[in-house]
């Protein structure tokens, strides 16, 4: 079945260093991939989602590229900011409508320190 695996647990980075959070997936169909971000005491909200035409989505300095050959959608940012500290979820949605097909990874907690 479909699944999402992401860098688990806690990631601590120093401000200014690059961010890379890994996400790989398994899917029978052609999926959309998402990154959701959840700041402390807030609800998860969409950060990025993959496009169908291989464009690279970007938002707030974050970007991710869908690589179908390696089934990956890693989240990257060139320079971490203190405000990037949050819980990040990778998620998958495929096109097989009528069947439950939205899956979240277990989340990666990112802490950025000065």
């Amino acid at each position: 079945g479909d699944s999402v695996t992401q860098t688990e647990g806690l990631v601590t980075l120093t401000e200014g260093l690059p961010v890379m959070l890994n996400c790989t997936y398994q899917s029978t169909y052609s999926p959309f991939l998402f990154w959701y971000v959840q700041h402390l005491n807030e609800a998860p909200k969409l950060l990025l989602k993959s496009f169908t035409d291989n464009k690279r989505p970007e938002h707030q300095g974050f970007h991710a590229t869908l690589h179908k050959s390696s089934s990956s959608f890693h989240l990257q940012k060139s320079s971490a900011q203190l405000s990037d500290s949050a819980l990040y979820y990778c998620a998958l949605s495929d096109r097989n409508t009528g069947y439950q097909n939205f899956y979240f990874g277990k989340g990666t907690s990112l802490t950025v320190i000065p």
């Binding site: 959309f32 998402f34 609800a43 998860p44 949605s93 439950q100 097909n101 939205f102 277990k106 989340g107």
Partner: protein, 114 residues
Amino acid sequence: EAAVTQSPRNKVTVTGGNVTLSCRQTNSHNYMYWYRQDTGHGLRLIHYSYGAGNLQIGDVPDGYKATRTTQEDFFLLLELASPSQTSLYFCASSDNWGGGDTQYFGPGTRLLVL
């Protein structure tokens, strides 16, 4: 931005108690979801619905019932609450199922079962 509200925001009950969590979305989305969020497990889907009167089982349905009374309203019922159901519950909605549609989350309900 889609609006999803939840009530109550916090709830304390005792083992064996009866609890109803409410969710309302005001964007005429077809799909609504109930998740629980626990450290180490991320977001786990309990139940979802693609319209009034419809109910689908998610990944962790045991001990939970749900009902979608209208396009806007989705309820989660815990008829014999247990301490293992202590969690943070999120409701979400989306316009469609799969196909890259974003899920919009409510602010969450924190439930403590003593």
